[in-house]
């Protein structure tokens, strides 16, 4: 229990660092931050937009830096991220609320599926070392090295643009209105197949390679030999003795890699014009929409931190030693 509390404390610290970086960054830019930002917008901007940026930077509030910091934190806690300058006058939080569910559904599901599939394949590859799975290794390494969005481009080109097997992008069919009816949901699911497929293919390779290596090392341990000596059925030796122990470093690796997987998937959404955070990010970067960009950064960071906490919980559930071990 203390382990979980310590991890929670760590994540709170990390979240605080992210928030503070967000707060101080515009102030570190030499010169008046607001002026510098405004200078990026050619032509005139409505005074309301000016105020929006001031509010985001906390400059609009009178008072010392500390006071601004405090009100900034207060804003974040109330999920008030300011007003988007590119989609003025929409609130950033509204924009986020529209796009987060899409990304969560796609990236969340695909990542978990990829992890389970990759781990299972890795267990088999580690046990049946030298089998036909080994010959796939170079191909798997190639898949692991491909940027997510490039594979998306390839797959789209091959399967959607040329052959029309899959839809060429978007979150759902044109003309449909989002709602909880079956035609919309089925269309949404169909449109998410190719993006999900892309994520799964690229990340399965990584998980499988990692699990295979860990399994090979674990199979060399004494307790696996002891399990064999006990005359236990092979299934039990491989899964309860070898795989269960190999799972621990694999889960830790999962936690570490989550940031990269999520980032890659979000960029991949751009290729599909998928109505998730990725597209929002592209637009906000291209139009220098600072409130939105910073808010997206915070949201992604918090999501990854939360996912890491969940992974820690799983590790504690699986590894009896973690309950007494100190935080890394």
């Amino acid at each position: 229990m203390s382990f979980i509390l310590r991890r929670l404390g760590f994540y709170v610290v990390a979240a605080w660092v992210a928030l503070t970086v967000n707060f101080f960054l515009p102030r570190l830019v030499p010169g008046n931050a607001v002026e510098a930002i405004m200078a990026k917008f050619p032509g005139t901007l409505q005074p309301a937009a000016y105020h929006a940026i001031e509010a985001m930077l906390g400059i609009g509030h009178p008072g010392s830096l500390w006071h601004q910091y405090g009100s900034y934190l207060n804003d974040v806690l109330h999920l008030n991220f300011g007003i988007s300058s590119s989609n003025f006058p929409a609130h950033v939080s509204t924009l986020l609320a529209q796009t987060i569910p899409w990304t969560l559904a796609l990236v969340g599901t695909a990542t978990v599926i990829a992890f389970f599939l990759g781990t299972l394949l890795g267990i088999l590859a580690g046990w049946r070392h030298g089998g036909w799975l080994e010959r796939l290794l170079p191909a798997l390494m190639f898949l692991q090295a491909i940027p997510y969005f490039f594979l998306a481009l390839l797959l789209l080109y091959l399967l959607a643009v040329n052959t029309h097997v899959f839809p060429a992008g978007q979150g759902y069919g044109g003309g449909l209105v989002p709602g909880w009816d079956w035609s919309f949901i089925s269309s949404a699911m169909f449109h998410s197949l190719l993006p999900a497929f892309t994520i799964v293919i690229t990340s399965v390779a990584g998980w499988m390679l990692q699990m295979r290596n860990v399994m090979i090392t674990t199979i060399g341990e004494d307790y696996v030999l002891a399990a064999q000596a006990k005359g236990l059925p092979n299934r039990r030796v491989i899964f309860s003795y070898a795989a269960r122990n190999a799972l621990l470093p694999q889960l830790q690796g999962f936690g570490l890699a989550l940031g990269f997987v999520v980032s890659g998937a979000i960029v991949m959404e751009i290729v599909f014009s998928y109505p998730g955070i990725g597209l929002l990010l592209l637009n906000s970067v291209t139009s220098d929409d600072y409130p939105l960009t910073q808010a997206i950064f915070l949201v992604i960071t918090f999501a990854v931190l939360l996912a890491n906490l969940i992974v820690d919980l799983v590790i504690v559930a699986v590894d009896p030693r973690a309950r007494t071990r100190e935080a890394a």
């Binding site: 990390a14 090295a145 090392t217 751009i270």
Partner: protein
């Protein structure tokens, strides 16, 4: 515990047995060799590429007929929307991307070694603080933070990108090196050095770091991988400077000019493929280094075959004079298997053995 005898591969050969004197290159695992060769090809392309490129990457051929052309004799990789030669762009891009990635790798690895060793060596409150710093920057996702950081910089040229990437790329290596240094630090030969009065930094430089070379090498390769991936992604989103021709920038323009929808595969496939192949060569290299360092991974490759038959770790120790037990196969699978190479090999191996004694109770 299978007490494996110290099998030292460096021994002279048996009299009469074919000599297998492998040089240092020959003893590298196949994966590492493939990785080095592939990487070497791209390094070569980076060095001489822009010199042999037929056109300047940004040169826009004003002839409208040459816009968005498929590969032809004049343009080996086709042209872009504005008549630029894709091949020249890709060659220039390889050089830029590799330059950037290598520089980031060097800086970040140096930083991670310094921080990692310092944290392990200083111990106490310093170690706690540095570890916290490392862990925080490990857990915060890199790409969004990079986007935010680069967004606020007044100009985002190559130098700025390198520095920012390096600034976020060192924590991973620092953590690994710190862990390794901690375990080495507690070993006896370090205590012996200390007792004999060696000064701290000398111990670090001459005793500890040499023991971590393969770790540092793997760390360097991983950092380069990260740098390539991150820089390409950043360029693709349009965060970094769009006036320099890196591989990611080419992809940005391809995407924004709808190359995909217009079917201009020659525009986005070559740069993406280049990124993927460079990445693959690095992963191969890394796996090779892994196998060098982890004897179990290497041994597993060698152990897997005895008498032409692949053995699972849960199979019992094979007995040479007994007839090799066949796996239980359904008739169809057995028929198909009889055509495979492994069936042929094991038949040959069986015939090559001395005539087996009549075995009792087999199967």
């Amino acid at each position: 515990m299978t007490t494996a005898l110290p099998i030292n591969v460096e021994l002279p050969t048996l009299p009469g047995a074919p000599a297998r004197q492998l040089g240092r290159w020959g003893r590298l695992p196949l994966k590492a060799k493939a990785g080095v060769i592939l990487l070497g090809f791209f390094v070569l392309a980076a060095i001489i590429g822009p010199l042999v490129a037929p056109y300047a990457p940004g040169y826009q051929n004003p002839n409208p007929a040459l816009s968005m052309n498929a590969p032809s004799a004049a343009h080996l990789l086709g042209t872009t929307q504005s008549g630029q030669d894709v091949l020249s762009q890709v060659l220039s891009g390889i050089r830029l991307t590799l330059e950037l990635a290598l520089l980031v790798g060097v800086i970040a690895t140096a930083l991670s070694v310094i921080v990692g060793v310092a944290a392990a060596f200083l111990g106490g409150i310093w170690d706690d603080l540095l570890s916290l710093l490392i862990n925080v920057f490990l857990v915060i996702p890199a790409l969004p933070l990079l986007i935010v950081l680069l967004g606020y910089l007044p100009h985002t040229g190559q130098t700025a990108t390198i520095l920012v990437l390096a600034g976020l790329g060192w924590p991973w290596g620092a953590r690994v090196i710190r862990a390794q240094t901690l375990s080495i630090r507690n070993r006896d030969f370090i205590a012996a050095s200390r007792e004999s009065g060696e000064r701290g930094w000398r111990i670090i430089a001459f005793e500890i770091v040499p023991n971590e070379v393969s770790l540092i090498a793997a760390n360097f390769v991983n950092t380069v991988l990260y740098a390539i991936g991150a820089s390409v992604a950043l360029a693709f989103i349009g965060v970094t400077n769009l006036s320099s021709w890196s591989l990611g920038t080419i992809l940005y323009w391809a995407e924004s000019q709808q190359a995909l929808q217009l079917g201009a595969w020659w525009w986005f496939v070559p740069p993406g493929l280049a990124v993927a192949l460079i990445g693959t060569s690095l992963v191969l290299l890394n796996t090779g280094i892994d196998e060098l360092g982890n004897p179990r991974l290497k041994d597993a490759n060698q152990r897997a075959r005895v008498n032409g038959r692949r053995l699972l770790p849960t199979d019992p120790t094979p007995v040479l004079n007994a007839a090799l037990p066949t796996r239980q196969r359904t008739p169809v699978v057995a028929f198909m298997h009889s055509f495979s190479r492994s069936a042929y090999v094991s038949d040959r191996a069986q015939r090559r053995l001395s005539a087996p004694k009549p075995s009792e109770g087999q199967q």
